[in-house]
């Protein structure tokens, strides 16, 4: 089973880190294979950033994402540049606080930035989205996601990030 996940948002939201955490969860804790790639152009600084992850039970040969089946979109510009062309069979998680457009495919609205701002910190909105992604799609297990988050976030922010993941899991399950 091959999943192709595309993350997009604006620079500073932790889009790249989200993709790295997801890939890490798959490889290190789910015993799967993953390849993470990203857009490196200078336009990524402040503009729309984008990163993609391929997750597969078998070794990944072609490493690039051709047609994503899962999207995580966290900005309007990111939607327009990297989300608007999603195929109808895809599923898209959208940060409904920041993105007003909606795709033709199945759309899961997660008010990640709004809820993170209200109850945690806005900086962990990406982790809320990751939690929601896992709850809605099961591309990796919850336990693996938790471990990969703990591996990747700065010391002293573990609790905050785990709370954000939990919030995301709940929002994802409700949807």
């Amino acid at each position: 089973m091959r999943n192709e996940i595309r993350f997009s948002g604006f620079g500073g939201q932790g889009i790249i880190l989200s993709a790295v955490i997801l890939g890490r969860a798959a490889v290190m804790y789910d015993n799967k294979f993953a390849v993470q790639t990203q857009v490196y152009g200078p336009e990524a600084r402040g503009g729309a950033s984008m990163s993609q992850v391929v997750i597969d039970d078998d070794q990944i040969l072609y490493p690039k994402v051709a047609v994503p089946d899962i999207y995580v979109i966290m900005s309007q510009e990111g939607f327009e540049k990297y989300g608007a062309s999603a195929q109808v069979s895809a599923v898209m998680l959208i940060d409904s606080t920041l993105v007003h457009s909606r795709p033709k495919c199945r759309c899961i609205e997660i008010p990640a930035t709004g809820q993170a701002k209200a109850s945690l910190k806005v900086i962990v909105a990406n982790i809320v989205m990751l939690g929601a992604l896992v709850a809605a799609t099961h591309v990796v297990s919850e336990e693996s996601l938790k471990k990969a988050i703990l591996d990747s976030v700065p010391k002293g922010t573990e609790d905050l990030n785990l709370k954000a993941m939990q919030l995301g899991l709940e929002l994802g399950k409700q949807s």
């Binding site: 890939g23 993953a34 040969l61 072609y62 690039k64």
Partner: protein, 367 residues
């Protein structure tokens, strides 16, 4: 013992160097290779090694050659523009038989070109870029795992053959993260021991490789880029001496062509045969997996220079060789020299990897 990691290719390269015992890195940051330098900057000082960011790439390779003569395993990393700057001192390393490793994470050229996009445009430059008649070794990784393993191998080949060895990676493999199995220890091949008191560059073995008299061991070796005799003394106007020296420097690599050939042969009886190195290997593997057709062969090359021409001969029924490269057909031209059947280059510029569909379209085209 091994452990699993989820590493970027450039980090795997730096970790491979550290595992191989590299204790010196001198270089200049350049996209898309910078992560190699950054990782070495973080790790080397804690391991008793030295990292130095030099003022340019010319100084970067100069510093690793200097470090190598102290006996250290030394490395630099760069990309196209920096690689162009290194050409003269690469020749110095070849002429003085200085082991060192140069990583080139290739990006789109010419000139500043596409700093963040992938390419394989320096495959002929690495072979022929420095002036004079030269021979070098170049390895091309196609996975993050190979970024690690071929870096280790590059150090071993450099020390064995006393030549600069090039890890010719590309932005695709350098920047992507994937699963890697990291071994606790790696194989290490040492430089040939030097017989004290003998001339510094005397060759007694049929492999044409002299022993290495490291600085500080009391051998008082004089190292010069000038044409030199077996004592290492300049002797730049003697035609026979120059011929013999340059011939030996080329022969020690060319004669070991088969010995250092590193490639995989898949479906040797096939009629259509892909040949690939670096990132396009991944697309070919995808096509092979999807098609499951024994009439499609694949030669996957890791040692691109010296080119492993004997591998082509293993495809006895080949009617056509198909070469996807992220350049305008640099290695296709080398393959044309060795085969009598048509060679179909699939050149690609722009920075994106060939898609499986692009390769399938060529497979299906009428001959």
């Amino acid at each position: 013992m091994t452990r699993i990691e989820f590493w970027q290719g450039n980090i795997a390269c730096a970790e491979g160097a550290l595992a191989a015992g590299c204790t010196f890195f001198g270089g200049y940051p350049i996209t898309p290779s910078t992560e190699v330098a950054e990782h070495m900057a973080a790790k080397l000082p804690k391991r008793g090694g030295a990292f130095i960011q030099m003022e340019d790439e010319i100084a970067g390779i100069a510093s690793i050659i200097g470090a190598s003569w102290t006996g250290a395993r030394a490395m630099t990393a760069t990309s196209g523009p920096g690689f162009s700057l290194m050409m003269e001192n690469i020749g110095f390393a070849i002429m003085t038989e200085t082991p060192c490793v140069v990583v080139n994470v290739q990006r789109g050229g010419p000139s500043t070109g596409q700093p963040t996009m992938s390419a394989q445009g320096d495959m002929l430059q690495v072979r022929f870029g420095s002036h004079g008649d030269i021979a070098i070794i170049a390895l091309c990784p196609a996975t993050v795992q190979e970024m690690f393993e071929l870096t280790v191998k590059a150090f071993n080949l450099a020390d064995k053959y006393r030549v600069p060895v090039f890890l010719m990676a590309d932005e695709t493999i350098g920047h992507m993260r994937e699963k890697i199995i990291v071994p606790d220890t790696v194989e290490r091949v040492e430089r040939k021991p030097f017989v004290a008191g003998t001339p510094a560059f005397r060759v007694t073995d049929p492999d044409n490789i002299p022993g290495f008299p490291a600085f500080g061991t009391g051998q008082h070796v004089h190292v010069t880029g000038l044409t030199h005799d077996e004592r290492g003394y300049p002797c730049a106007t003697n035609p026979n001496l120059h011929m013999a020296l340059v011939k030996r420097l080329v022969d020690k690599i060319e004669n070991a062509r088969d010995e250092m050939a590193d490639y995989d042969v898949i479906n040797p009886d096939a009629g259509q045969v892909f040949v690939a190195y670096g990132a396009p290997v991944r697309t070919v593997m995808q096509v092979m997996h999807d098609k499951k057709d024994t009439n499609i062969g694949f030669l996957r090359i890791r040692t691109v220079w010296p080119f492993p021409e004997k591998a082509l001969a293993e495809f006895k029924n080949a009617k056509r060789f198909i070469i996807p490269e992220m350049n305008l057909g640099q290695i296709s031209r080398e393959i044309e020299r060795h085969v009598c059947v048509p060679v179909r280059s699939i050149p690609k510029l722009g920075g994106e990897l060939h898609t499986p569909e692009e390769l399938v379209a060529v497979l299906e085209e009428k001959a």
